[in-house]
Amino acid sequence: MPTTLLEQSSLFLQQFVNGMTLGSIYALIAVGYTMVYGVIQLINFAHGEIYMLGAFLSFSLVSGFFGVGLPFVLAVTIAVLVCALAGVLLDLVAYRPLRRSPRLAALITAIGMSIFLQNLALLIWGGQIRSFPRAVIPVFLFAPALQFGEVVVSWLQVVILLTAVILMVVLQLIVHYTRLGRAMRAIAQDQTAAALMGVNVDRVVSYTFALGSGLGGVAGILVGLYYNAVYPTMGYLAGIKAFAAAVLGGIGSIPGAILGGGILGLAEVFGAGYISSSYGDGIAYAIMILVILVKPAGLFGRPSSNKLYRG
């Protein structure tokens, strides 16, 4: 057990860095939940599966699971694009026909899709844990980038943090300064009014799914590399945790999802380290339930936009 102040604080710093890495991944996934919810008020339960798909696709393309091994960068690009496309397809096949149905129907469908995709992956890739072959991944990723005494920050962590930050900035730029972003915000305010103003709602929803799913795919790849483990049920837990992050930040709010992801990542790492490692997952559930019960609008949510209160 470390005793000196130096050792203590370096351990703390290490945990902090790990927590931030995890948090930025959660944030990437959470943004997908939050964007879709903001636009069509649907909790896309299958989003975690898109993330899993990202990890599996990049793994398969890199390791030659489908017959040909592609260079890392190309494989990753293809995986992200396919994820974005899968998101659009998901909406097209499952959610769009139910746009006018009761919300319960869409919600149940989302759960059905999640189960379906997860077991499809199980059929295709089998249940065992896969890992990226070391040979095809750029070696530098595993080298330490920074080192202060005991604290080691690997290049992979740097890449994850940077990717998350850059993508979030880009996303904010898209949402606030492009026609698409304006249309998205308009639909979030009032779908009918937006449609009357000439916004093509279906197309904007498709783009939203593409953006969110693409980010989810990126998160999947990063996690696959970070833990070096890819398996069909990985999307289930990560999806729930990211959803908890989105709720914590206020569902529908993108900055909220980012902050929520950060908080959740830190809470999980510190919670597992200092409270109880076996209840690590429980922390996410507990946070989620507490936020929903005590402050359902989250940290950044607009209380009026999610109709939680009767009347």
Partner: protein
């Protein structure tokens, strides 16, 4: 008259059904006999579970994604009471149901104000937490080691160790549960639930204490789940945290989606169609893919919601 109402009133409907289920264990099935009885017992068990779940999403319109939590609570209550105190099944069944109802109320009370998706998430989180506690509190539940060697059920001192005996036992429990839900459905209570499902505000304005009736629904639903759990523990003679995974909640949800939400006969039909199918698939599929049969359920849910959202036996209160 709707099928649900005829279930207990129309002799032409229930007599043949009852005769079929009663003579099932005595059919000359040869080698397959024990196996068929096992599947039939399982199907009846899931019928009980589906009836219990149906109360919340079907009658009050709130999606419950954590039903398996109550199943688990019931199973562990029965298991612990049996191995520590060797109590009779007939004492344990009501106790387990009461314990389930208690947790149902505890879960429901804080989430009374939540609407569809948030309620679903809270129920999900709650059941995951329950399973996590079962997994980790070794002093109470032995955690991942499970609790083996639970005594078989017994009746008047006779141990029910034949498959047909447990089959009749679950059949009795199913009839009991059916009797309760059918009665309730056509009563003042059931009407209040339907009113809450249709329009909570209007329900309040005609003088229905919404909170109270929701709580009753949660309690009843959880009690039925726990009852099934208690039977399961004594029948299977082993409980383990992995038996109560999220999948099970989805499977039960799938049963009532297939039959039609809120439809009592629909929930029975759903279990009758899906549970034997699941078991057959479990044999046919190679073991590594055996859980891929859930793929079918996922697809089924999506397809039903798309083309027949009201289910195979929809509720129409004409």
């Amino acid at each position: 008259m709707h099928l649900d109402d005829r279930l207990f009133h129309d002799k032409k409907l229930y007599l043949p059904l009852l005769i079929v289920v009663l003579i099932l264990p005595w059919l000359p099935l040869g080698q397959a006999g024990p196996y068929v009885i096992r599947i039939a017992t399982l199907t009846l068990l899931y019928m009980v579970l589906a009836q219990g779940l149906n109360v919340v999403p079907g009658f009050t319109g709130l999606l419950d994604l954590g039903y398996v939590g109550f199943f688990g609570i019931g199973a562990y209550t029965a298991a612990l009471l049996t191995i520590h105190y060797h109590w009779s099944l007939w004492l344990i069944l009501p106790l387990a149901a009461l314990n389930g109802a208690l947790w149902g109320v505890l879960r429901g009370a804080p989430s009374l104000r939540l609407t569809d998706d948030y309620f679903a998430i809270v129920t999900f989180g709650f059941s995951e937490l329950i399973i996590l506690v079962i997994k980790n509190e070794l002093w109470l539940t032995r955690g991942p080691m499970g609790i083996p060697g639970i005594a078989r059920p017994e009746l008047f001192g006779v141990v029910l160790d034949q498959p047909w005996q447990t089959y009749y036992l679950i059949l009795f429990l199913l009839l009991l549960v059916l009797w309760v839900v059918v009665r309730i459905r056509n009563s003042r209570l059931g009407r209040a639930w339907f009113a809450i499902r249709e329009d909570e505000i209007a329900a309040e304005c005609v003088g229905i204490n919404v909170a109270r009736y929701k709580i009753i629904a949660f309690a009843l639903s959880a009690a039925i789940g726990a009852l099934a759990g208690a039977f399961y523990a004594r029948w299977f003679r082993f409980v383990h945290p992995d038996m109560f995974k999220f999948w099970e909640s989805i499977l039960i949800l799938c049963l009532i989606v297939l039959g039609g939400m809120g439809s009592i006969s629909g929930a029975l039909l759903g279990a009758l169609l899906l549970i034997p199918l699941t078991e057959v698939l479990r044999i046919i599929l190679p073991s590594e893919f055996s859980s891929a049969r859930y793929l079918l359920f996922g697809l089924l849910i999506v397809v039903m919601m798309r083309w027949r959202p009201a289910g195979l036996l929809p509720v129409e209160r004409e």
